[in-house]
């Protein structure tokens, strides 16, 4: 055999460097767009942010309304929908990763989860309205909203739970079984703790998505709030920040609608930022204990 010509591959090296630069530019563009976007929202909303805005009730006709119940409802609804979705999502994820095997059952469940995950939120919204608002007779309320929102959360939580569990190193699982652990002990004491940070990250992404969701809540939690504040009853309507944002800009009866909208948007962005930072800290704490 002739020795091939192993000469210095200038072109390959050039391509390597070019690609590096291109990818760096793409990343930079991404950060740039995000900064401009967040900057614009905060710049417009910042003047509106004061204690009065955050702590008073909204007004329907006059200027000077606040967003206190909307802020509370947003957090409250996300919390309840997560409480509803977590046991189902994590349970289904554990089943798929550890018990469903590799055969038909797994494929069937995966199809179900993916279908639910791909369902447009407006379809879930109308489904929720028919089932919870009308048939169950719960009307536009926090619980109608929370149950429908949970439908949005379940498939995401299921998928991250399954993926996080599959990523647990086999050696650790074998170590556990090798000491005489049962399957349940292995899942609870080794697999889930290891998968915890992955599941947590997924839950936060879910929370963020639920926090920003509007279509579902317009049709299930309604566009009003209780007259009382704070009102933790599940049977009262629960307009959230994103619904409020949509409502004030499309309804047009408020003289200061654009200021209210700007302030609301800024609050939403800030809440999401805080949420993500919190998760970083929590993730690091868990990781230190379990990895």
């Amino acid at each position: 055999m002739d020795t091939p010509d192993f000469k210095v591959r200038t072109r390959a090296k050039l391509a390597d460097r070019t690609m590096h630069a291109v990818l760096w530019l793409v990343a930079l563009t991404f950060v740039g767009v995000l900064l401009v976007f967040v900057g614009a929202i905060l710049k417009q909303g910042w003047p509106e942010l004061n204690l009065h805005f955050l702590t008073s009730m909204p007004k329907t006709l006059d200027a000077g309304g606040g967003i206190a119940p909307e802020l509370l409802n947003s957090l409250y609804l996300v919390a309840i929908s997560l409480i509803l979705a977590l046991p189902i999502g994590v349970g289904a994820g554990i089943y798929m990763a550890e018990y469903a095997g590799q055969g038909r059952a797994l494929r069937f469940f995966r199809l179900c989860v993916e279908t639910l995950a791909a369902t447009p939120s407006i379809v879930l919204a109308l489904f929720g309205m028919i089932l919870f608002v009308q048939m169950m007779g719960w009307s536009f309320s926090i619980r109608s909203g929370a149950f429908t929102l949970a439908l949005l959360n379940v498939p995401v939580i299921t998928r991250v739970t399954e993926e996080s569990l599959r990523a647990v190193p086999r050696e650790l699982i074998e170590a556990s079984y090798g000491l005489g652990a049962t399957k349940l002990q292995t899942i609870l004491k080794v697999a889930l703790p290891y998968a915890a940070t992955g599941i947590l990250t997924g839950v936060v992404l879910t929370a963020g998505r639920a926090f920003g969701e509007s279509a579902i809540l317009v049709f299930t939690a309604g566009t009003n709030t209780s007259d009382k504040f704070p009102d933790f009853r599940l049977s009262v309507p629960g307009e959230t920040l994103s619904v409020h944002l949509w409502y004030v800009t499309s309804d047009g009866t408020l003289p200061d609608a654009s200021q209210i909208a700007a302030g609301t948007a800024a609050v939403m962005i800030l809440v999401l930022l805080v949420l993500n930072l919190l998760v970083r800290l929590l993730d690091r704490a868990i990781r230190r204990r379990t990895r």
Partner: protein, 260 residues
């Protein structure tokens, strides 16, 4: 190493008779029979892919966790069949501990790693756990190195320490047999010699079966050696005899490095 002139005094701990093994459809082990004596170290040697690790794992049925396997023939521990109802899998794995090729400590503290096994069996009392942990770490010759940092993460230890921790973890549930699957293959020579010394001490109270591709290691630590080739056992005898006067030509060729 046992002297061939002195008769064996230890009873048979593990007896294998006419054993065959399949992974799915693929037959891996063919008609194996051997006796493994209590409180002896038995080495299994052979080229890569000869089925020695697979054979080892049959003693605690660990590959049934993730794969479809089938076993025929008899595998007895103290005369009780370990495959067909004689003993529960979970109970079997407590009695037949395992040390893996790559150190695999849990991502927890040193203490929690060793306490993991006892906790599985409901040991909660702190003083009892402390005693079990100390005892296991001493047996694994690790206590003096780690007694002041039991709360530190196990993943921060050196490879050799991690492997001794895994041995301590296995010892903490008081197994009767310890399976070691190439326990030194990821370790440097100093860490390796520490593990070998440990094997020497441990076999006073345990039955040890060790798979190794390092023939010097087999010669150093074991009393009996079995030579595997292509899923069959070519020869098994006292280590002394295998390394001086093997019966089979193939064994001789392998241990002298002429093939393998």
């Amino acid at each position: 190493m046992l002297n061939p002139q002195i008769p064996e005094t230890k009873p048979v701990k593990l007896a294998v008779r006419g054993m065959n093994f399949w992974y799915g459809e693929k037959k891996i082990l063919h008609d194996l029979s051997m006796d493994i004596h209590a409180e002896r170290a038995t080495a299994i040697i052979g080229p890569s892919g000869c089925g020695k690790s697979t054979f080892l794992k049959c003693f605690n049925r660990i590959h049934e966790v993730s794969s479809q396997v089938r076993v025929t023939g008899d595998m007895l521990m103290d005369g009780v069949d370990i495959n067909r109802g004689g003993i529960d899998q979970v109970d079997l794995r407590r009695r037949v501990g395992m040390v893996f090729q790559k150190p695999n400590p849990f991502p927890r503290s040193i203490y929690e790693n060793v306490a993991f096994g006892p906790r599985l069996f409901g040991v909660r009392d702190r003083a009892t756990l402390d005693d079990l942990v100390e005892d296991a770490l001493r047996k694994a010759a690790l206590w003096d190195e780690v007694k002041d940092r039991l709360k530190d993460s196990a993943t921060g230890m050196s490879g050799g320490q991690q492997q001794r921790l895994c041995i301590a973890r296995a010892l903490a549930v008081h197994p009767e047999v310890l399976l070691m699957d190439e326990p030194c293959s990821a370790l440097d020579p100093i860490a390796t010699s520490k593990i070998e010394e440990l094997i020497f001490e441990l076999k006073d109270s345990l039955t040890i079966v060790i798979v190794t591709h390092n023939m010097q290691q087999a010669a150093r630590v074991s009393d009996y050696t079995a030579f595997f080739w292509l899923g069959k056992m070519v020869e098994m005898d006292l280590t002394e005899r295998i390394f001086t006067t093997p019966r089979e030509r193939m064994t001789e060729d392998y241990i002298t490095g002429r093939f393998g």
